[in-house]
């Protein structure tokens, strides 16, 4: 372990208030866009689902980078690899559950 006076390995810098404020505005704007698209109902259903899910994924990045200081770590940022594995497992669990249940729907 490094001594307390040594710099963080990663990109810890003293940011101003600009970072959280930018994150806040972006997250509100993305939410309003998603809601507007949903309420307006002009997009076909499949396209709408893809777009609002895409907007939600961007919201993850905003929380991670603007608020959760995800790049900061004392040593190497091992938790980023763990998060990547987590995202992979989440996609696998949800996508395969839905896929497998489409066969169930045919049987009824």
């Amino acid at each position: 372990m490094s001594s307390p006076d040594e710099h963080m390995r990663s990109t810890h810098r003293e940011h101003g208030l600009g970072v959280p404020i930018a994150g806040f505005i972006l997250s509100i704007v993305l939410t309003i866009i998603a809601l507007w698209l949903d309420q307006q109902g002009a997009l076909p259903r499949d396209w709408l689902i893809t777009v609002v899910l895409g907007l939600a994924v961007i919201q993850i990045a905003i929380q991670l980078f603007f608020f959760m200081h995800v790049t900061e770590s004392d040593e190497r940022a091992w938790h980023i690899w763990l998060l990547a594995l987590g995202f992979l497992l989440v996609i696998t669990i949800v996508a395969y559950s839905m896929w497998i249940m489409t066969f169930g729907a045919e049987a009824y």
Partner: protein
């Protein structure tokens, strides 16, 4: 690294580690909390998968669009996004060693969290009163389990952040209290991420049916 001389001339807060990372114990516990967040993510993904599979199975109960109130869930979303922001400001004030700023923004975060829970309880209450209970249909079982688990997390977060706030008021900003504040803020932002997906998958995509 030859940082000793350099750091003598630079204010320690601007060049060295944040206080919560200043001890080996603090840095290790923050890493450990990331591990917990990933496991919690897996728990939620199972409930999301269940909801995605079952939301059309309404039995004799109402459809999702029949019970979802757009203004209600929009208000809940905006409140939670704002509380995530105020929690971020609290961390920022902590790193500036501004104790009163940290306390003020934490209290605002807690009040927003409480109003979110208030809205959610009133939503659940009106569903149940109209006969849409957990036992009515597979859709409602999946809905109450997923949204209710998130609500339990938020309620627990309010209690946890309150207890950390009391420690900050009593002991000030130390390596131990700053680590606790940082970890509770990670938890709070994580709940906001989960809610964004609840808002998208449960309310918007579910509400199309």
């Amino acid at each position: 690294m030859a940082t000793t001389e350099e750091s003598l001339h630079i204010p320690s807060h601007s060049r060295s580690k944040p206080l919560e990372y200043s001890t080996e114990d603090g840095a290790l516990r923050i890493f450990g909390f990331w591990v917990f967040l990933v496991t919690d993510m897996l728990l939620f993904s199972c409930f999301f998968a269940t909801y995605a599979v079952l939301y059309r199975h309404i039995s004799t109960g109402p459809t999702p669009s029949a019970i979802f109130d757009v203004r209600g869930y929009t208000a809940e979303t905006l409140i939670l996004l704002t509380s995530s922001f105020t929690s971020g400001i609290a961390t920022y004030e902590m790193r500036r060693q501004n104790k009163s700023g940290l306390i003020t923004w934490t209290i605002i975060t807690l009040l927003l969290g409480l109003s979110f829970i208030g809205l959610e309880v009133s939503e659940f209450w009106s569903d149940v009163v109209s006969g849409a209970t957990m036992q009515t249909s597979a859709f409602l079982s999946a809905f109450f389990t997923l949204v209710g688990t998130h609500g339990c997390h938020v309620s627990f977060g309010i209690i946890w952040i309150t207890s950390v706030l009391i420690q900050v008021i009593r002991r000030g900003i130390t390596p131990v209290t700053s680590r606790k504040v940082f970890i509770t803020s990670l938890y709070w932002h994580f709940l906001d991420v989960v809610w964004v997906f609840l808002f998208t998958v449960v309310y918007m995509i579910g509400g199309m049916y």
